[in-house]
Structures are given as C-alpha cells and as structure tokens.
C-alpha cells in the first residue's frame, strides 16, 4: 500500500498504553522508534494524544458545549478509558487535568475513567460545583462516547437504541443530582486533529535527527 521508503506511523490514539506499546509494535514488527525493514525506514511516532495542543482542544470543547455555564461555578471532568492492562493508559488524561488545573479557569478539574478508579459513574461524588462539564478524552465518537459513558453518567438507559446517537448531545444540560450536567462529543473529532497529526510527524523528526 505504501511505496515510499520513509514511513511515519502516527497512532491515532489518545494515550500511550497497551495498544501503542504492545499491539501496534507487535503487528508492524517494530523494534523501536526507528525500524529498518525490507529497505524501508519505519518511524514510530507518539500517539496524537501526547500533542501539547490537546489541552487547548479539551478547553475549547468544554467551553463550546457548556457555553451558558459560568466556568467559575463549574467542575470539569475529563473522562478517559483507563485499563488494568497498562498503567500508562490513564496517565495522559491525568496530565491534561494537571495542565488545565494550572490555567485556573475551572475551580475543580478531575479525571475519571471507564475501567479504572475513580470511575465516571461516581461523577456526582467526585465533583462539588453546581455545573458539571464532561469531556470524553477519546479519539472518536463510538460505542464508548455514545452509549457506555452516557449510561454510566445516568443520562441514558442501557437499552436505548444506538440509532439516536446524536440525540445524547442535544439534550444538554441534563438536570441530575441537583446539578446541571453538560456532555460533550469526543475531542478526536475536532478538525484540528489533522494539524496535530502533522505536528506529531514534525516533532518526531526534531527528536530523532
């Protein structure tokens, strides 16, 4: 499929973890950041989620979905997958939480996960502000962001049809546990992602020349 000698591989993944550390190198037979194989040079880049602009993207999404919520009375929850298979999976989300917290826009910024503690289903106990903004730290809108997380948040029933996927974002804000909850789409769907992929390639060259 690819005819060039130099091949950059950019994992369209939100964090380092089981897939970027194990599955992709295994499937592509990579031996490190640079692998020379069959006269080809394979350059294995960072996952796009490591890009420094991810923080801006998360804040942009949060501001967009909860335009009528005052940030100084809002808790921001970054929800990620997390997995017991690799301890790095949750690191990217936690790093983003720290970066956002440092900017001092929201009085409360927390990370929550689907398969790790603290669990996203506990959002009401994890937050204290009257407005709660939830942004999925995911690459695409799929089963997790359309179905699994809404069920864990309590804004959708387990048996609701996946046909009404877009509906989940139309009912913002949800009134639950005496709070106003805003639920955003996955950040990986932002058009800025194309630039982030190109930047990831450039960063690879800077780090490996």
């Amino acid at each position: 499929m690819v005819e060039a000698t130099d091949v950059y591989i950019v994992p369209n993944f939100i964090s380092e973890g089981y897939f970027t550390a194990k599955v992709i190198p295994r499937e592509l037979e990579l031996t490190g950041a640079i692998t020379v194989k069959d006269r080809r040079i394979l350059k294995y880049c960072d996952p796009v989620g490591n890009d420094p602009r991810m923080t801006d993207l998360l804040l942009h999404r949060a501001g967009e979905v909860a335009a009528d919520a005052p940030p100084h009375e809002s808790s921001l929850v970054i929800v990620a997958h997390g997995t017991g298979l690799n301890e790095n999976s949750a690191v990217a989300a936690k790093r983003q939480v720290d970066a956002i917290r440092d900017r001092g826009i929201y009085p409360e910024v927390v990370a929550a996960f689907m398969e790790e503690e603290p669990e996203i289903s506990q959002w009401a106990n994890l937050t204290t502000q009257p407005y709660v903004v939830i942004v999925p730290f995911f690459i695409s809108d799929g089963l997790h962001s359309y179905q699994d997380i809404p069920v864990l948040l309590g804004i959708q029933n387990e048996d609701s049809a996946p046909a009404s996927q877009q509906e989940v974002f139309r009912h913002n804000p949800y009134e639950l546990h005496d709070r106003k909850l805003y639920y955003a789409g996955a950040i990986g769907t932002d058009p800025m992602m194309a630039d982030i992929i190109l930047d990831t390639v450039e960063r690879f060259d800077l780090e490996h020349d």
Partner: protein
C-alpha cells in the same frame, strides 16, 4: 507504481474488485459503481470525490454498520465520480483496504500468507485465549465466517497448521484464479481479492468460541 498499474488496467477497459467496478468516464475522469449498477439507464445517486466512499462503505442497505469491509453487502444505488487515478487508488483503499496492493505483491511473489497458528500465537490480553482454538473449531469458523455468499468475498491464502481450512468451504474459496462473486460479469477485468491472514474479526469470533466452550 500502483497508480501506473491502475491506469494501465483502466485504459484497457475496467477494474472489478470485490463488488466494485471502476471505469474511465467520458470525456475524462473515472466512475465507480457497485457491479450490480453497472448497466445503462440506472437511476443512481451521483457523488464526487474519494471521501464520499467513506460514507458508502460504512453502512449496508439496512443502515447496519459494516465492520468487515470484504463482506458482500455493499450498498447499491450510487455512482462515484473521480478526477484522477490517485483518487481511484484512494477510493479502492477506502472500499477494500490494501486489496489492490496485496494483489500486486502477490503477482510479484512477495505475499507471504500467515498461518492461523502464528496469528493466534502472538495475541495478547483478552485475545490470548484464542490460542486454545482447535483445528476443527477453526475449520467451522472459517466455513461460517469467511464463506463468500454472506461472509467475506476475499480468497483465503492462509492456512491452519499448513493446511487450507477447507472442510466446510469449496476449493474455489482458496483459488486466486476463482472469482468469489457467483454472478460475475466481464471476467477479463476482474482482480483477485486476497486474504493473506485471518483478520481481527476472525480472531474476535475465535475468542467467543473458546469462551463458550470453556464455561
């Protein structure tokens, strides 16, 4: 080189790969259709540019998601117009990822099919358990999951313990010279649609079988 070969084939007539047919258009450009729509006076929805292919491949006629791109359930009723061979190449890859390049590599003798045992042996995490799949279970799974009528249109080149999993499949399923579409037209424009290694969906099905038998 891929584009050059595509151009040669298209100049000579057309390309049919899986359920797709690509032809040169008049006065310029290219047109892609479902082979069943490849006849005059069809009322088709016209789309332009390779990106439109992503919409077409995503859902079948009943709007169910198509996780397996080789499945014989491509929608009909559309026509895709493209300007360049580069776009044709991109479009074919959207419909059938890697298929054209695999066929070229096969012609050059560079395709090395991967035995199912090797595929399963390198699985980790939740798929490691697939290593317990028996030969007979693998035969049954291939017979159900890979069959050309409603499973997958690719021709199987991989083996199970060095043997083609042919207990429940016709010998044509393993023959690169055989077209997997029963009602094929214009055999001279057809390109073999090859499978060199059991796909991830096959591995996921294998996991289900092993799990059911272990509980």
């Amino acid at each position: 080189m891929i584009e050059q070969l595509l151009q040669e084939r298209l100049r000579a007539g057309a390309i049919r790969l899986g359920e797709l047919i690509v032809r040169q258009a008049e006065p310029a450009g290219y047109v892609v259709r479902h082979w069943q729509d490849d006849k005059p006076e069809q009322k088709l929805t016209v789309k332009t540019g390779s990106i439109a292919a992503l919409e077409i491949v995503r859902y079948d006629a009943e709007m169910n998601y198509r996780p397996l791109k080789g499945a014989p359930n491509l929608r009909t009723g559309w026509e895709l117009r493209l300007d360049s061979v580069a776009e044709v190449r991109q479009t074919i890859d959207y419909f059938y990822p890697g298929a054209f390049a695999t066929w070229l590599a096969y012609n050059r003798g560079e395709v090395m099919p991967v035995d199912l045992r090797q595929t399963l042996a390198r699985q980790t995490g939740m798929y490691r358990v697939t290593q317990k799949l028996t030969d007979s279970q693998a035969e049954e799974l291939a017979g159900r999951f890979c069959q050309s009528r409603s499973g997958c249109l690719r021709t199987i080149l991989w083996t199970v313990d060095d043997k083609a999993p042919n207990r429940y499949l016709p010998s044509s399923k393993f023959d690169p010279q055989a077209d997997q579409l029963a009602e094929r037209r214009e055999a001279n424009v057809w390109i073999p649609f090859l499978c060199v290694e059991a796909c991830n969906l096959f591995v996921a099905e294998a996991r289900k079988i092993v799990k059911v038998h272990s509980t």
